[in-house]
Symmetry: C2
Subunit: 290 residues, 2 copies
């Protein structure tokens, strides 16, 4: 069966970073027949994308985009730039153009973008994919292949189905989740572990000062695995923590309760309850290996 | 140069678990010329060790051990059994026999054992090595090769130097650290990360209940790496948390302070200080890769 990519004919990718660039590369590889255009502040990135044949043409000014040919806009810049870009794009888009994004935080921002773009339809999406590298120059054509893409909507429409088809034809596994539940989930399984890893390394810096020795000379017992994610980009994570603030703070509070519970059991030398807590965590963690 | 293994001629390994068994295997491989005897509650383990030629002979009763031939006793049972075993052994040992151990907690227990064995000398040691497996049947001859062995003493004596030589000839890298500093270090770099990992999984169990979904279906962003150590043995870790109680509680408190600091910066949307904290953690973590 021929792929339809949601019947979109002209796509504008806003932001030729790793995700935007990889999306252009994936469309080319998977046989998208329409036109792909790019927008970026950097002329260098546009040049790279044009040279590799990933985009038909790139622009640094939204006024120059051939808007009559665009029926899908993909926001692939940092989440905090979405609102400003949306207000700019809004002036140019066709009445039927669909807007989507690849941001990792949804909830409030989806609500805001829906309002800005109305009566055009904004369909939020979050591909669970990435590498540590940045920029179109590091784009990977199979970045989204067999990876989850979460479409954050409350009800299906013709346009949300088109965005679903678009990602399925790229090779992703689409899942539909409410925008706020999406933020709760990722606050718990991704943002919380990052917060904990950053805090853990911070506490070891302070404990080192206290003892007058460099504790980082004794990394054992899974410590390296455990703190690997503390080497993630401070700018990216500062943004994520602030954009998903309320869900992140809630998950940190829940974690603090669990740690306080564990601490109390150690203080009271409550062997029975201690074994119970450790065993439950162990079983749950082992179930992930399957 | 011929290896001396600290000039010990007859060694009794108390506890034929993974560490005790691997020590017997390493002695054989590295060419120890003296006799190695074993003690264990399990006749099966003794049989395995005898069959593999790892020990001269094994015993389930301390009364049967040929004490006149023993000049080094290595305690390789769980730390919480040390005190009881020490009081039993004390009745039998020669006036010059040296006692050492392979336990992962030092401070108070070293003090207690020194007192019990006096005037015999107890020299605490902690090989930083292990696998997830248990028992002499899973023993590994190179378990201690190029691994750190921490000798926890406050001053060198003839006997501590002999124990140092013993481990060096097995192929380990010996480091000398005060017993209480040892516990502070491992509370920070090993016990704290384990406590945090167990608490993290516990909080995700609770957050799953709150949301009515299974958050463990969305493990992304380093989460698997991060919580791997939460699959460690509950019994072993219950013991470690309790035996190193005061240092563990102190490190948890320090970690909680760091997490509270991070939480406050997110709450106040203090971008500058947030970037600073994340960057410092990142740089420290990256320095480990070298």
């Amino acid at each position: 069966m021929e792929k339809s990519f949601g019947d979109f004919k002209g796509i504008l990718i806003v932001g030729l970073g790793l995700i935007g660039g990889s999306l252009a590369k994936a469309l080319k590889k998977e046989g998208f027949k329409g036109k792909v255009y790019g927008y970026d502040l950097s002329k260098d990135r546009i040049k790279i994308a044009e040279k590799q044949g990933l985009i038909e043409k790139g622009f640094t000014d939204f006024k120059e985009v051939p808007w009559d040919k665009i029926d899908l806009v993909v926001l692939a810049t940092p989440v905090k730039t979405f609102e400003k870009i949306a207000k700019e794009i809004k002036k140019h888009i066709n009445p039927k153009t669909v807007i989507t994004d690849v941001g990792s935080v949804k909830g409030d921002i989806v609500k805001t973008l829906k309002e800005i773009f109305y009566p055009n339809e904004f369909v939020g999406a979050h591909p669970i994919a990435g590498t540590e590298k940045e920029g179109v120059e590091n784009a990977v054509e199979d970045l989204f292949k067999n990876k989850k893409v979460i479409i954050t909507i409350n009800e299906e429409t013709e346009n949300t189905q088109k965005v679903e088809e678009f990602w399925k034809d790229i090779g992703s596994k689409v899942e539909i989740i409410d925008p706020y539940l999406h933020d709760f989930i990722f606050a718990s399984v991704s943002h919380l572990p990052h917060a904990v890893a950053f805090a853990l390394v911070d506490s070891l810096i302070n404990l080192s000062k206290e003892a007058g020795i460099d504790l980082f000379l004794y990394p054992g017992g899974g410590f390296k695995d455990f703190t690997r994610i503390a080497a993630s980009s401070p700018t990216v994570w500062k943004d994520i923590f602030l954009e998903n603030k309320s869900a992140v703070l809630h998950s940190i509070d829940e974690f603090s309760k669990s740690l306080e519970k564990l601490k109390k059991l150690i203080e009271e030398e409550n062997e029975e309850e201690l074994i119970k807590l450790l065993s439950e965590s162990r079983e749950k963690r082992l179930s992930l290996e399957e």
